[in-house]
């Protein structure tokens, strides 16, 4: 489960919060506990208290799920995750697993589709679940099964890899009528890299369109996974669930028994709780952790006392200790998730492990944009909101930025586009901020004449042409899976976006995989939307960074009445500069109201004007009659006009409405 960031997205919708931004009532604590971590975390403490000290009980029991806090030998622990494309049935399957193991009573279960987060749905991300500890008895032997979920979006592939690193096995769930999708594929490869045992599951076999044989063949061909004993199930109908549980027990290897070693626990998720500080989710890899232990985070080098430890089942339940192989949470009055980052290793303060677990890395923002409050008075509110989000999102970076056109705001860095959208949306929905968002930019490497290399993510700060020798931009390798009918339009898209075609092959008779390498800058706009629209929604994609390459890039400036508007500066490929310049100047001409004088609007590279429009002066704006001394109506009009001017930003002597900036920024996102 989790990345701090993706988690935040779920909380954005589910967590109860005051104010008009709220979209729907928060689910009651008992509904679908798996998907409502924010809620369950806040509501579960009462239950935690009464369940905190589990009494030892005999292993055999008809309601096995209810003694899930009991310890089992490490050889009976199974840690696994579920990899699935959105809508392929992950949530339903997880619910069924919980129900069948008695972890959640049937009457507590709710229909699962009700709380999928809109944003995730729109963006094609799989829903993230809670980690859950289940008890399952097979052949009279009790097993402890820990489900650890992963976010499904590439922006969070680091978090995904840490979640997978906390498991020994994974269920690969594929919709038997749809087939493998690109994101699923990427996560399967991550799982294979982590040496996970993968159990293929063909879901939705009850549907009339299900073709389990075809899909099984597809999995074999694409992934090279033996599907001869793939489990055929229908999570919705409850078909095949026991088989899945049995397969987890028999196929997923148990954790290594290293309980005697110095403590090493892998953080796979953390989130900020306003009352308790950061809650850290971890998998004990080596050693044992007890309540009250003094612990140390090896990467952040912070030390705390573990005030509370427990398991997730699926609500938080306190326990006294957790050993190697077990999965749980802790709280230790940690102030920010940046101090307990995903991938960090927890060890004991007094008996430190020699080296941390492998795989930790700092978050590296890949996409940047400027965020400015529309109402300048909201600058402080924006700062506070970003600080609050950062408590829960270690990958979010920001620093103040000011621009003559936009006033004061922040330059923010994100893991990717989805992360950016989530943050923007939360700021607007939860903090009621109205924002102007500049076109996203990537990080360029500028090689200067003096041999230095400068990183630049803000077009207006690009070193002058005389100083720079060349510009390198990040490239991504993008894999798109599509039904064969859409190969043409998708390849056109790839070519349009300065893509290098790498390969195409048919993964089945009807579906093809197309691989391009193209500049990340070409992806940060509407690439995903375009892919979806050109394939009628059928294509899926996955990308990963493949490094920096030199490109003939130029900085395109916009000048209004001779004054440069930094916020509208962009870095574009030389061959695109002309058309982009034309589109921007044309749009500005439409949107800037005419002034009392003629206003030239120009797009320039350096001092060279490459596109130009002119806004003619207003001819007349006069109300000719003041009738019968009734000036109120006229005054109202004039006041409204004055108000309108106030909402505009002055670029030199020209009043430019906020909407003009927004529309141009939107256009930049489209044309860049």
């Amino acid at each position: 489960m989790a990345t701090a960031t993706a988690t935040t997205s779920r909380l954005a919708v589910l967590a109860p919060r005051p104010g008009p931004g709220r979209r729907r009532p928060a689910p009651s604590p008992s509904s679908s506990p798996l998907r409502a971590r924010g809620v369950s975390a806040a509501c579960s403490r009462g239950r935690v208290l009464c369940l905190a000290a589990p009494a030892p009980a005999p292993a055999s029991s008809t309601d096995a799920g209810q003694d899930r806090l009991q310890k089992v030998p490490i050889s009976n622990i199974r840690n696994f995750s579920i990899i699935a494309h959105i809508d392929h049935g992950k949530s339903t399957l997880a619910d069924k697993l919980l129900e069948l193991t008695g972890t959640v009573q049937k009457r507590e279960m709710k229909e699962q589709f009700l709380d999928n987060m809109d944003l995730e749905r729109e963006r094609g991300i799989t829903i993230k679940l809670q980690a859950a500890r289940m008890r399952y008895v097979k052949d009279n032997e009790p097993y402890c099964l820990n489900l650890i979920d992963t976010p499904g979006h590439v922006d969070f592939s680091y978090e995904v890899s840490r979640s997978l690193a906390a498991c020994e096995g994974a269920l690969l769930v594929v919709d038997a009528s749809q087939g493998v999708e690109a994101q699923t594929l990427a996560n399967v490869y991550l799982a294979l890299e982590n040496d996970l045992e993968i159990i293929p599951v063909l879901n939705k076999i009850d549907l009339p369109g299900a073709e389990p044989d075809r899909v099984a063949k597809e999995i074999e061909e694409i992934i090279g996974l033996d599907c001869s004993d793939a489990i055929r199930c229908s999570a919705k109908e409850g078909i095949g669930i026991t088989e899945i549980l049995d397969a987890i027990v028999t196929k997923v290897p148990p954790p290594k028994d290293t309980a005697k070693d110095p403590l090493r626990a892998l953080i796979f998720d953390s989130y900020y709780d306003p009352y308790r500080g950061v809650i850290v989710y971890f998998r004990v890899v080596d050693g044992t952790i007890k309540k009250g232990d003094k612990i140390r985070f090896m990467a952040s080098e912070k030390e705390y006392v573990a005030d509370e430890i427990g398991v997730l089942s699926p609500t938080q339940m306190q326990v006294n200790e957790l050993y190697a192989g077990e999965v749980g949470y802790l709280s230790a009055s940690i102030r920010s998730v940046a101090d307990a980052r995903v991938g960090d290793t927890i060890t004991h303060f007094s008996k430190r492990a020699d080296c941390p677990l492998p795989g930790y890395s700092e978050a590296t923002p890949m996409v940047f944009c400027g965020l400015f409050p529309i109402d300048a008075d909201q600058f402080e509110e924006l700062r506070e909101a970003l600080e609050k989000l950062q408590l829960n999102d270690a990958a979010l970076k920001f620093e103040p930025e000011s621009s003559s056109a936009m006033g004061f705001g922040f330059r923010c860095g994100f893991l990717g586009l989805l992360h950016m959208e989530i943050v923007q949306e939360r700021l607007e929905r939860e903090y009621s901020l109205s924002l102007i968002i500049t076109a996203p930019s990537v990080v360029y490497h500028v090689n200067c004449a003096n041999g230095e290399t400068v990183e630049c993510s803000n077009p207006s700060l690009l070193p002058e042409p005389g100083v720079r020798k060349s510009i390198e931009e990040p490239y991504v390798k993008i894999e798109m899976l599509t039904p064969k009918d859409y190969i043409g339009p998708i390849m056109e898209l790839g070519q349009d976006r300065r893509g290098d075609f790498k390969e195409m092959n048919f993964i089945t008779e009807n579906r093809a995989k197309i691989v391009y390498e193209l500049p990340l800058a070409e992806m940060v706009g509407d690439f995903f939307d375009q892919l979806k629209s050109r394939s009628k929604g059928y294509a899926s994609m996955e990308y990963k960074l493949v490094g920096y390459r030199e490109s003939p890039l130029v900085k395109l400036d916009i000048q209004i009445n001779g004054d440069a508007v930094e916020a509208l500066s962009t870095i574009v490929h030389r061959d695109r500069a002309y058309s982009v310049g034309r589109a921007l100047t044309k749009k500005l001409k439409e949107l800037i109201p005419r002034q009392m004088f003629k206003v030239p609007i120009q797009a320039c590279i350096g001092t060279k004007v490459i596109a130009s429009e002119a806004l003619s002066a207003i001819r007349k704006d006069v109300l000719s009659k003041c009738y019968g001394g009734d000036i109120t109506r006229k005054k109202k009009l004039l006041k409204k006009q004055a108000e309108g001017k106030k909402r505009m930003k002055a670029i030199g002597r020209v009043d430019v409405p906020q909407e003009a900036f927004m529309a141009v920024l939107k256009l930049e996102k489209e044309v860049l």
């Binding site: 009392m596 004088f597 207003i618 001819r619 007349k620 704006d621 006069v622 109300l623 000719s624 009659k625 003041c626 009738y627 019968g628 001394g629 009734d630 000036i631 109120t632 006229k634 005054k635 009009l637 004039l638 006041k639 006009q641 004055a642 309108g644 001017k645 106030k646 002597r653």
Partner: protein, 465 residues
């Protein structure tokens, strides 16, 4: 060279119109078809405005908060034969068949009006200034029988103190255009023939040398030639005053449904601005002074009543939808007859009274700016500084500085002579120097006037940031 002269001397009232209200649409839309005031003349396009009053008022402005007691009254006579296609005023369309005798709708309304006058408390009992101007607007005031107009004047005299030499001494004719087609397209109740008749009647009227003609520019399908023709005919008729209104398309009017501003058959903004410039040029050549955005006059014939508005002085108002400005408070009466009648009842019962003026300084400053910048004498900087502070005055001037350079705004000395932009700039160097040369700023004619909304709203932004 005072910008405004008092009206030509009195004894105006010995006219045929005496005591008559001449229906005169004071606003843009005024229709006018009317039976001539007195005798037998058939219908005239009766134009309209009548000013009964006298007493010269002081020439130059100084706008004066706190307001003096009103010396002017506006009376709304809302009757028309029919509604013109551009009109959104509170009027009552009577239809073309006039009933025998007096129309009960008119007599009932005048009764209501008299009740309002009677229930209105004069601003000062000690007798502030007597009424100097009374303006009947409409509607078509001349549709109201003279007997009833006289009754209104009598009531005003009784209630609001002596009104010197009451009688009608100014009339305006709502001609609007000199092209039959255009008149028809506007839904006017008169044709070209009636226009000529009415002009004949008015000019033949002994003692009524002060009359105005209203024109509308930017009508649908109006061409530059037509506009030149209208202006020529207007000059030939030799009115002492001309009002030129630029057509405004109002929502809820027939024109509002039919046309979009700037789109054919309405002229483009450029054409329409051109009409405005042509009017300014032709009328100035003919000896008219462009003393307000839409008003021109022969020397000394400014519309005294309207000048009180532009000087931000107080005034009474009576009748449907009319707006008064008393004790610093602006109030508009209900625009629907039923609600107006209820309001008069409340006034009589004492359940409604004018708030006492306590108005916001910023609002006052905005009023002064928006009204004075409509005029040729402009904003009096010294008086404005005195009322609202030198620094606000200075900020306004700084805001207008680039427009003084570009010629949309003119700075003037105390003699109302234009200052060069560089002299004006010198004045703005410090608060100390400020006002040593510049005494007024005005909008230029015609370019500044044409952009008055832009320029005035800029000033609003300074007054209320």
């Amino acid at each position: 060279p005072l910008p405004i002269k008092s009206e030509p001397t009195r004894p105006a009232p010995r006219s045929r119109f005496r005591n008559a209200a001449i229906g005169l649409p004071a606003r843009l839309p005024s229709p006018t078809k009317e039976t001539a005031p007195n005798p037998p003349t058939p219908t005239t396009c009766s134009p309209i405005c009548c000013l009964a009053a006298a007493a010269p008022h002081p020439p130059v402005p100084p706008p004066a908060p706190p307001p003096l007691p009103p010396a002017s009254a506006y009376v709304h006579l809302p009757f028309c034969r029919k509604r013109c296609h551009y009109c959104d005023f509170p009027i009552v369309a009577l239809g073309s068949s006039s009933p025998r005798g007096e129309d009960p709708r008119i007599t009932d309304y005048v009764r209501l009006l008299l009740r309002e006058v009677a229930a209105t408390r004069p601003v000062s009992d000690d007798g502030g200034a007597p009424l100097e101007t009374v303006f009947f607007g409409g509607g078509t005031p001349s549709l109201v029988p003279p007997r009833l107009v006289a009754a209104v004047l009598d009531a005003l005299r009784a209630r609001l103190r002596e009104l010197v030499g009451a009688g009608v001494n100014r009339v305006s004719l709502g001609v609007q255009a000199f092209q039959e087609d255009l008149l028809r397209a506007c839904g006017r109740a008169h044709g070209l023939e009636e226009v000529h008749e009415a002009v004949g009647i008015v000019t033949a009227c002994e003692g009524l040398q002060n009359w105005s003609m209203d024109l509308i520019s930017s009508l649908p399908n109006q061409t530059e030639e037509m506009w030149e023709e209208s202006l020529r005919c207007t000059v030939d008729a030799r009115p002492t005053h001309v009002s030129v209104y630029d057509l405004q398309i109002e929502q809820g009017t027939k024109f509002g449904q039919l046309y979009t501003p700037g789109v054919h058959p309405l002229p483009s903004d450029t054409e329409s601005a051109n009409f405005y410039k042509i009017a300014s040029k032709r009328l100035s050549e003919a000896g008219y002074h462009h003393y307000e955005i839409s008003s021109y006059c022969k020397p000394g014939y400014e519309c005294k009543h309207n000048v009180t508005y532009w000087q931000n002085r107080s005034f009474y108002a009576f009748g449907l939808g009319s707006a008064s400005y008393i004790n610093g408070v602006r109030f508009s009466r209900p625009r629907r007859m039923k609600e107006y009648a209820e309001w008069v009842q409340n006034l009589e019962d004492g359940t409604w009274s004018h708030e006492s003026g306590n108005s916001d300084t910023k609002e006052m400053a905005m009023d002064v700016v928006m009204l004075s910048l409509r005029t040729a004498w402009g904003l009096d900087l010294r008086s404005f500084s005195k009322s609202f502070g030198k620094s606000l005055s200075l900020s306004l001037c700084n805001t207008f500085k680039p427009f003084v350079e570009s010629g949309l705004v003119v700075a003037m000395d105390v003699q109302q002579q234009a200052l060069s932009p560089s002299d004006f700039e010198l004045d703005l160097q410090s608060e100390f120097d400020f006002g040593s040369r510049a005494a007024f700023i005005r909008l230029s004619d015609p370019d500044g006037f044409l952009l008055s909304n832009e320029l005035i709203s800029l000033a609003f932004g300074i007054i209320s940031p």
